[in-house]
């Protein structure tokens, strides 16, 4: 922003940033160190590990049904993402590129849906899913994505609006109908937006606690990792070292995805804020 700055100013700025970075990273260091402590040491005042127990990571898989919880989370996240893309890309395309009566009203409704707290519709939806005998599973959280996800439609529409109209217009002049214009022109050009929407939904599903509590708490076999993680320390009295190992394991997938797709991710976050 500002190019003419004194050396002292630059040093001060970087000192502040370095202190902040240490503060933000410190909790990660504490939990990583605790995850390799003996159970006895992890329960006492925090100190450097007296002995290293990397085998805690294997023990946590033996003591807790992590494979099942991870499997459930993967199923939830992947299916929800695939379903969302199938239903939300066409909807976003229609909102961004087709002029029709009621388009503005529809967009406002989607924004309202996106901002609506989940608790507002919890009771009727729970009753509905329980009549369909699907409570106790992750399906009440996966299936709605087949019918569009408001946040994803919003994000995809915002991205598609940034694609110059010339491309779609020339495709139409070449005789492309709306469907083939979407498939051949919009989808390839909107790849970063689509990737961002997919990552957001994957993360939302992976990190979801409220939905999992609502629909799967009664059936341990259906627990995803983020719900299961909240139970270890409490209902199962698992030691702190194993809880921390499991906590780190639960972060691994989202952190890996983030690092491999950081650019589209940040671009997507920026779009959600709506340009000033």
């Amino acid at each position: 922003m500002n190019k003419r700055r004194s050396l002292a100013g630059v040093v001060a700025d970087h000192t502040i940033l370095a202190v902040l970075a240490i503060l933000f990273l410190a909790p990660f260091a504490f939990i990583a160190l605790t995850s390799v402590m003996s159970a006895a040491q992890a329960g006492t005042t925090f100190s450097w590990p007296t002995s290293w127990h990397v085998e805690n990571y294997a023990a946590v898989f033996e003591k807790l049904d992590l494979v099942r919880y991870f499997g459930n989370s993967l199923m939830y996240s992947i299916l929800a993402t695939v379903f969302m893309l199938a239903s939300s890309i066409p909807a976003a395309y229609a909102l961004a590129r087709i002029k029709f009566r009621g388009a503005n009203l529809l967009f406002l409704l989607i924004v309202a849906m996106m901002l609506l707290p989940p608790q507002v519709t919890t009771v009727p939806l729970y009753v509905m899913w329980s009549k369909l005998h699907l409570t106790g599973s992750l399906w009440p959280l996966i299936l709605p994505n087949l019918l569009g996800d408001a946040f994803s439609i919003f994000l995809l529409r915002q991205f598609m609006l940034t694609i110059p109209k010339d491309y779609t217009e020339s495709a139409e002049l070449d005789g492309c109908g709306p469907w083939s214009t979407m498939v051949r022109v919009i989808v390839p050009m909107a790849k970063p937006g689509i990737a961002a929407a997919a990552i957001f939904l994957f993360f939302h599903a992976w990190n979801d606690y409220y939905g999992a509590l609502l629909y799967t708490s009664e059936n341990e076999r259906a627990w995803p990792i983020s719900y299961a993680l909240a139970q270890f320390r409490t209902s199962r009295a698992v030691d702190w070292n194993l809880t921390m190992a499991a906590t780190i394991l639960a972060m691994v997938p989202v952190v890996l995805i983030f690092f491999s797709a950081q650019k589209v991710f940040v671009q997507g976050v920026t779009l959600t804020g709506v340009k000033g």
């Binding site: 922003m1 500002n2 909790p27 087709i98 009727p124 709306p178 952190v255 940040v266």
Partner: protein, 309 residues
């Protein structure tokens, strides 16, 4: 002209079909049912029975916890939300001044917001453990030992601390907006002798107003529904069974000090099995959210410009 308009409408309908059905099933229908249920006595085992305004009378003064939940939620809106926004803005501003490693630093500040909230909450409760945690170990050197998540006086400030650790989600949005602020304006102000704070308030804040407003509105809506962090923090700090499987006794622990409106709604619906009453609470939540949203849509130029297209 008319046939093409109609044709376009049909094409749009085809593309939007699933989403429109989704809106009906997951938005319009449950909203209507929530209003209906709010006038009934209802639990999951029996069908709803009309009870006139019984739920509403209970809501307006008989529910022993509703005032606590409302006050806690208001506390979060008035204190936690502005502190988090200010923190995110300051971190984003500091980042724009980095000459080196700005990408790495951005990732570091974003990381806590990325991981599952259950994981970040458990980690934070561990770090703030009153007897064994590293923070109190340091604080005890100067004679302080706050109870953090275990003390009703400290539990909400502890949530503020957690929200500052995970401020990355809005920080990234602020960062993008800050990078769009015209450099010339800032340099001109500096030549005019404006100090750092003056430049911050008089140039940067007005330039990113729409993004600030967006963060404020979504922050308020999120505070009303806040669930995961206080629920997991209560359970972990208490060291007993968390919510779910019928037992939602830990919500709000200690002494209901972290009980939010969204948590009480859940507790009334699934803990006390008062689904009619919880629906009345949901109607209130919807109305308040609606008012906040209308404020957003009317004031927020970014949205209206897009909508007017």
């Amino acid at each position: 002209m008319r046939p093409t308009t109609r044709r376009r409408g049909l094409v749009a309908l085809a593309f939007l079909g699933p989403a429109l059905l989704g809106m009906a099933v997951f938005f319009v229908y449950p909203l209507a049912m929530t209003v209906y249920y709010s006038f009934t006595t209802f639990n999951i085992l029996s069908s709803p029975k009309w009870n006139d305004f019984a739920n509403w009378k209970y809501l307006v003064g008989q529910d022993p916890l509703i005032v606590t939940a409302a006050v806690n939620t208001l506390w979060l809106i008035v204190i936690l939300v502005p502190i988090k926004i200010l923190g995110a803005l300051l971190v984003a501003w500091a980042l724009t001044r980095a000459r080196h490693a700005s990408g790495v630093l951005r990732t570091i500040f974003y990381l806590p917001a990325l991981i599952p909230p259950v994981a970040s909450t458990i980690a934070f409760v561990f770090v703030l453990n009153p007897s064994t945690g590293p923070v109190n170990q340091m604080l005890s050197l100067i004679g302080l030992r706050p109870g953090w998540f275990t003390d009703p006086a400290w539990s909400k400030p502890s949530l503020v601390g957690l929200s500052l650790w995970v401020l990355g989600d809005i920080m990234v949005i602020f960062l993008a907006a800050l990078l769009d602020v015209p450099t010339e304006q800032l340099e001109a102000a500096e030549l005019d002798g404006a100090g750092g704070i003056a430049r911050f308030w008089h140039i940067i804040v007005p330039a990113i107003r729409p993004v600030l407003l967006f963060a404020l509105v979504t922050g308020i809506i999120n505070a009303m529904q806040m669930f995961t962090e206080p629920a997991v923090a209560s359970g972990t700090a208490m060291g007993k069974a968390t919510v779910g499987a019928g037992s939602s006794t830990t919500l709000g622990w200690p002494s209901n000090s972290t009980l939010t409106y969204g948590q009480l709604l859940y507790q009334r619906a699934f803990g006390s099995n008062l689904m009619g009453y919880a629906s009345a609470m949901a109607v209130v939540m919807f109305v308040v959210t609606g008012l906040v949203m209308i404020f957003l849509l009317r004031r927020f130029s970014g949205f209206t410009a897009e909508v007017a297209r």
